[in-house]
């Protein structure tokens, strides 16, 4: 009898020891999940960088309220690149050896400078604010948050042209900065598809006064305008157009990157009636979105979230899912293996429940994401339509 009891105890001990070993293998090795974010919170797109940082921190706060990731809190560590590619490389070099995943960089020039360093070191970059053409070179170590620019943007300018069928010729104000010339080209494709002629007028990067530009544009005798320039400049140009007697406001289209606080503070009442497109639907009834929007407005003097405001909120949640689904530990000894698990999960996530829409990724490309076209009435956006 004693012999059987001894055998039983031994077997139980072995089972317990094996179980403990297995458990220990999956045990979280970090006190806090640090998610590093290479953002531009100073420089020409500081206002966009601010709300992207805000949304990442907001997501982290919500996750921590819900118990963290695998029981550990999450912290967003912001690295400011100031839109300087060499600073982007410098900041990336500080983290590339040690971190599990990085969000950003932002924007395109910094992506193309700093991501090669991440690729050489096997670090996955959640480049969640840009399009396919700026990240595909670095696949599979990046993903594309949006479809290629020349696929995603033409339908929205086609939609705008359909809403304003009297337009035959438009002037597009283009600022040659980062990805904006490419976006301007995509706007032109859509308008040309609807037989609308497009004349580009360059907006100098250092311009502060726009009367001569507007006079030059009006001399073309256009039926409408597209603004592909920074929000402050877009606001000033629209004001100048209105001051010079332009009345058909719905024939003015502002592109998504200018959908920022600076547009509304600069443009003021002159924006009433203009069209604008972006990637988020402010009228979504999703509860998470309603809370997000309310808290955003409280922190931003009543302004609505900008066009890219939700991207890094969703990114933080996607990383959370990747860590939980892959049972990642954050153990430095497993760094390379766990980096790949995050990468593969995010690039092929299925039915990801974003703050606004549910979507899937196929090898780093989103399967479907809408773009929304709005009219601005008293500072608020009213949906005109959406394109996919």
């Amino acid at each position: 009898m004693r012999k059987y009891v001894a055998k039983f105890i031994l077997i139980m001990l072995l089972i317990f020891a094996f179980g403990s070993m297995t458990f220990a293998q999956d045990e979280v090795a970090v006190d806090t999940w640090e998610i590093h974010f290479l953002n531009s919170v100073t420089g020409p797109i500081a206002s966009i960088g601010e709300y992207m940082s805000w949304s990442a921190n907001y997501a982290a706060a919500k996750i921590n309220e819900e118990g963290g990731i695998r029981g550990k809190p999450v912290e967003i560590v912001i690295h400011d690149t100031g839109v300087q590619p060499d600073k982007g490389i410098e900041e990336m070099s500080k983290i590339v050896d040690d971190v599990l995943v990085v969000m950003g960089p932002v924007p395109e020039a910094v992506i193309m400078a700093a991501v090669p360093l991440a690729v050489r070191n096997g670090l996955f970059c959640m480049t969640s604010s840009t399009s396919y053409e700026y990240t595909v070179e670095y696949f599979p170590w990046t993903l594309s948050w949006y479809p290629p620019t020349e696929e995603k943007l033409p339908p929205v300018t086609e939609l705008w042209a359909e809403e304003n069928p009297e337009m035959e010729k438009v002037v597009q104000f283009v600022e040659k900065w980062a990805a904006w010339p490419g976006m301007a080209g995509a706007h032109t494709i859509g308008l040309n598809n609807k037989n609308v002629k497009v004349i580009d007028v360059e907006v100098p990067k250092d311009a502060v006064e726009f009367s001569s530009l507007v006079v030059k544009a009006l001399a073309e005798d256009p039926d409408g305008f597209v603004l592909t320039c920074n929000p402050d400049k877009a606001g000033k140009i629209i004001k100048e157009l209105v001051n010079r007697g332009w009345e058909e406001k719905d024939n003015i289209l502002v592109f998504s990157s200018a959908d920022d606080t600076a547009l509304y503070t600069t443009g003021g009442d002159a924006l009433n009636g203009i069209s604008i497109y972006n990637y988020i639907d402010p009228d979504s009834e999703n509860e998470r979105w309603l809370n997000f929007k309310q808290e955003y407005k409280e922190d931003h003097d009543g302004k609505n979230p900008g066009s890219l405001a939700t991207n890094y909120y969703d990114s933080v949640y996607m990383i959370k899912e990747a860590i939980e689904e892959g049972k990642l530990t954050g153990d430095p000894a497993k760094l390379a293996e766990e980096r790949i698990k995050i990468r593969d999960y995010c690039r092929n996530v299925e039915n990801f429940k974003g703050i606004q829409i549910t979507w899937s990724m196929n090898e780093g490309l989103p399967t479907s994401k809408p773009i929304f076209l709005f009219e601005i009435i008293d500072g608020e956006k009213q949906l005109i339509g959406k394109s996919r």
Binding site: P85, S93, D97
Partner: protein, 281 residues
């Protein structure tokens, strides 16, 4: 070696090269910012030659030295003995001309930048070896008759002329050598970083190089070495939130050094005294 250390050393050495290219013409009171424009030209030339034509590093480097020197030589015919202010204006003008030309040339990547330049396998070893060669070359110049003549020009150009020294020839020579060094720095930068952006070659770079030169000390070639290491290193060690204040830090440092040690941290006199002490002991 950690990536942080590698990039710190690589950037620092490139900045030392560039600071030397500013230092040498300043021996005759020429603040030769044309070096920054030259760096932009040769870095993009190196990038295009390697990406589109498959050139390897060494021939690209050699060509860049020749092209850099040639650009500076041609322009030095006009500003070889011009006042400091004129040389500064010419340099800054060229920087903005080159930057604007790059931004408006799609072949060079326009505003987005030029990418995919093959990165050197052992950049630090090559950079360090090249730095030693250039350092030795500058040391020889500093301690030659030309170097001594330059010191006289710096003190009093009329006195130099009365002694039979030809300021224009020396100015042209130093500007040409400076162009060659800046040309090489451009190619090193391109092959170290792997991508190029017009926004890098702006007043920001000029300001950083000037800070390195005047904090380190403009009377000797050694000053820029600790200055480049400190000024590049501090933002890399500091947390990102503080590193963003680097320009302010540079500005405060520059004002403080100019106020307390107008010739910079390391001066010729200091080095002489150190040498005398060593030989005395």
């Amino acid at each position: 070696m950690s990536s942080t250390l590698m990039y710190f050393l690589g950037f620092s050495m490139t900045y030392i090269l560039m600071a030397w290219s500013i230092y040498l013409p300043y021996r005759v009171k020429h603040l030769h910012f044309l070096a920054v424009a030259t760096m932009a030209v040769t870095s993009y030339m190196g990038g295009i030659l390697s990406v589109n034509f498959g050139w390897s590093f060494l021939p690209t480097l050699l060509l860049s030295i020749v092209i850099g020197a040639l650009i500076s030589y041609l322009i030095s015919h006009t500003i070889g003995n011009a006042p400091t202010f004129t040389v500064v204006i010419v340099g800054i003008t060229f920087v903005f001309i080159i930057k604007t030309a790059i931004e408006n040339t799609d072949y060079l990547g326009g505003t987005i930048g030029l990418f995919g330049i093959p990165v050197l396998d052992h950049p630090l070893i090559i950079l360090f070896a090249f730095l030693l060669v250039i350092g030795y070359f500058l040391y020889r110049i500093d301690h030659s008759r030309i170097g001594r003549a330059a010191s006289v020009i710096f003190t009093d150009e009329n006195l130099a002329k009365s002694m039979g020294i030809k300021p224009k020839q020396i100015g042209m020579l130093f500007q040409t050598i400076s162009g060659g060094i800046a040309g090489s720095a451009g190619v090193f930068y391109a092959f170290f970083v792997g991508s190029l952006f017009p926004d890098f070659f702006t007043f920001h770079l000029i300001g950083t190089l000037m800070t390195i030169l005047f904090i380190g000390g403009y009377t000797t070639m050694w000053g820029v070495i600790p200055a480049a290491l400190i000024l590049r290193g501090v933002p890399m060690i500091l947390p990102s939130s503080i590193a963003s204040w680097r320009l302010l830090i540079y500005g405060v440092l520059l004002v403080a050094i100019i106020a307390t040690k107008p010739k910079g941290l390391i001066t010729k006199k200091m080095l002489w005294e150190l040498l005398k002490k060593r030989s005395g002991s």
